[in-house]
Symmetry: C2
Subunit: 274 residues, 2 copies
């Protein structure tokens, strides 16, 4: 029988860092059914005490100690959580001591220095990047393409829109996107609006079977969604991108994070972090 | 004089987890100028060797050892990076041993179990959530609001759109948004399309001075952007939300992560992690 465990991701802020790290650690353990519970905004001793009760309840339900991943900055709150009858893994404090020793200075133990809007310039860049992605989605506008950090091209439903939005939200990068359509393939030329921005172009491609599946969910029974049409568009788009010297990436088995990271990495763009 | 240090965020995949954790640790140290360098896709011994050269270069330039945060799963690659003349902080391996002891099983040491599109169901949910957010942005469509997990309301430029997109991309949550506009305030009633979805409504509000600033950048000199108009709209929107019993959050000093986490937390929505 599979063992059941509850994992808590505990933070005085959003808990997203604890959750991403904890979740990727848990994927390394097969044969365990994990219930993953984010607990953000644990910023008082009362909330820490309430968390202890939830940890006890989970232990009683599972019959096993919970796993608790924390990124708590306040030492008093952290001490309360550390007293839980659970495996408590402090993802923050464990690195503070070696960093203090290496840098020769004490940490400030200040809550919320990252993921806060304190830095209004950064926040503004991010919001503007989102607005830019929305205004330049799917070739809607080709105005201001000079301001784009990168312009994604590819057939419809190859992953351009979510990638542009992720680039904006996660990295503050201004990403436009422009579809490659059958009339581009018959001329075997780039859309005229894009020709002066060749150095900013980055292609996304996708397996034709997967594309058929995605398009069939959007427009069932359309000729647009048929396998022969998907095969044709993918083949022609790849040929056009090769001919034009546009680097491209197969998105078929990649997550949005992976696609976005590849684009930044290969286009040598600076990513900001929030 | 401020000391200069280079921080590398090293991973066999995107490096986003290492970067988020490392960056939030570094914000705890004032008086150091950090150059932060993500190094994703270090998935071969050759790339690990190349990284060692970059670490050496950074040490020579700064005159101080770099800081290297890693989330490498492959033990051989990890060993190469650990041999660098730097403070190498392994954000992954350090937690594997206590987890193995607690769970009584060995980890699989498999690269890329998170942030991969392997789980097509999850991937699909996420893309559909993005499509949903785009189709239901700014009240564009009120069809299918029954499918929304949450519907954000608030005055124009209170942060609804980026929050909805972040909820979709990061958490796979279907979020619609609907603006509150002057005609809603004169009737002091919710837009009729929203009245049957009251339990799904969540409000965003914002400081009027900040709103004036944001609106002035979008539409300089418009009456829409004047301080008296911003004060009027914010006051009336808050009164309407209070009257209707809609919970709301002030976004003025919050990051997109914080706003999104608050919305999920207070609306008691389940967040998925990718």
């Amino acid at each position: 029988m599979l063992q059941k465990r509850t994992a808590f991701y505990v933070s005085d802020r959003t808990g997203i860092t604890a959750e991403m790290l904890g979740h990727s650690l848990l994927t390394q353990f097969e044969g365990v059914v994990f219930t993953e519970t984010p607990v953000p905004f644990v910023d008082s001793l009362e909330k820490a005490q309430e968390l202890l009760r939830r940890i006890d309840d989970a232990r009683d339900t599972d019959g096993k100690r919970p796993l608790v991943f924390t990124t708590l900055v306040d030492p008093e709150i952290s001490a309360v959580v550390a007293s839980a009858d659970a495996l408590v893994l402090d993802c923050f404090e464990i690195f503070i001591a070696p960093l203090e020793a290496e840098l020769g200075i004490k940490s400030s133990h200040t809550v919320g220095r990252s993921h806060s809007a304190a830095d209004v310039v950064d926040y503004h860049r991010r919001i503007e990047a989102v607005n830019y992605a929305l205004a330049h989605d799917d070739g809607v506008s080709t105005r201001d393409l000079t301001e784009a950090d990168v312009i994604l091209v590819g057939v419809s439903r190859s992953g351009k829109t979510p990638t542009c939005l992720y680039l904006a939200l996660q990295f503050g990068v201004r990403a436009a996107n422009y579809p490659l359509v059958p009339e581009d393939f018959s001329s075997m030329r780039l859309p005229s609006q894009l020709r002066s921005f060749r150095a900013k172009l980055f292609g996304l491609t996708i397996n034709a079977d997967r594309l058929q599946h995605i398009r069939s969910e959007r427009k069932p029974g359309s000729s647009y969604a048929t396998l022969p049409n998907c095969q044709f568009e993918v083949r022609e788009a790849e040929a056009l991108m090769r001919q034009e010297g546009i680097p491209y990436l197969d998105t078929t088995t990649k997550s949005i994070e992976e696609i976005a990271t590849h684009v930044l990495h290969e286009a040598k763009l600076v990513r900001h972090i929030y």
